[in-house]
Symmetry: C2
């Protein structure tokens, strides 16, 4: 089934639960994939995300230079590939090819969407003031996609040292919070 | 069972999965409690956390003035109280009293720990440069506590509009990531 456009106003609900994300960037020679858990929402609409990328990561220089990326959200079926992407560097390896991930062209950025992920957020870097001190990039989501074929997506949530919590059941409570 | 000191080096593993937190602050007249999902790790050790607090929240002025807070992590048993804390303002209500939460004295900050939460992180505000633009506070965790009586704590993860994902099972993978 084809990927569907997802309303920007609802993006926060994808990231607030704290899933591991796969950050894709378009380097000169190849696209890269970096698993990441240090991210948070900053604004509802337009949706803005803060994330930390260490300058030790291959992604850092590409993100700083291109000011574009895609935040891809994997489900538990992809957990082994997520870990494999974290266990090596894009300096040495083409992760798409090595781990059998499928790049799809994005609409507004050069970084690719990962076809195997259930959601993809095309992002522009809008604020780099926190980069030198913390590696903190502020991103604006300019386009969001969802794979409607993936029902009940079970995200994974990093607990450290290879332990991942798999998203459990959802409860509904009478909250007035957005 | 008494609360136990928790190693600062392991704090990131509590927050990386993205749980809802209860931010406590010590105002002039009363302590306040604010549920929050917009937070991320910024540094492993000393553990540093970024979080967003809107200037519409009662907590904002207290946090800015006192530069201290506690990040408390509730489990699913507390979900109804978490939602209740989000549905009203500390301007009108003493949330500890109204919702039957138990304040405990912290070791290094005036803001109280919440006894019912399974983990409590005493924090100092160390960077307010992102406050005007985003409500972004950077916190340093100066002391961490855990309740060893709470085995297998099931955190809750906000999906928006009163929907919360309850932490599911944990899988272990051969990751070289910290």
């Amino acid at each position: 089934m084809a990927r569907r456009s997802f309303p920007l106003s609802r993006v926060y609900g994808l990231l607030e639960p704290g899933p591991v994300i796969l950050l894709t960037t378009a380097g000169k020679d190849r696209a890269n994939v970096m698993p990441q858990s240090w991210h948070m929402m900053v604004e509802f609409e337009p949706p803005m995300i803060a994330c930390i990328v260490s300058d030790r990561n291959f992604t850092f220089d590409i993100l700083k230079a291109t000011r574009e990326c895609v935040v891809n959200i994997p489900t538990v079926e992809l957990a082994k590939k997520v870990v494999a992407c974290g266990n090596c560097s894009g300096r040495e390896v083409d992760k798409f090819e090595t781990f059998g991930l499928t790049p799809l062209a994005a609409a507004h950025v050069r970084a690719p969407l990962i076809a195997e992920c259930y959601a993809n957020l095309e992002c522009k870097v809008v604020d780099t003031r926190g980069v030198n001190r913390y590696g903190l990039f502020v991103l604006e989501v300019v386009k969001a996609w969802i794979d409607p074929a993936k029902k009940n997506p079970r995200t994974i949530h990093h607990r450290g040292n290879g332990a991942f919590m798999v998203a459990g059941r959802t409860v509904k409570l009478p909250s007035r919070m957005k």
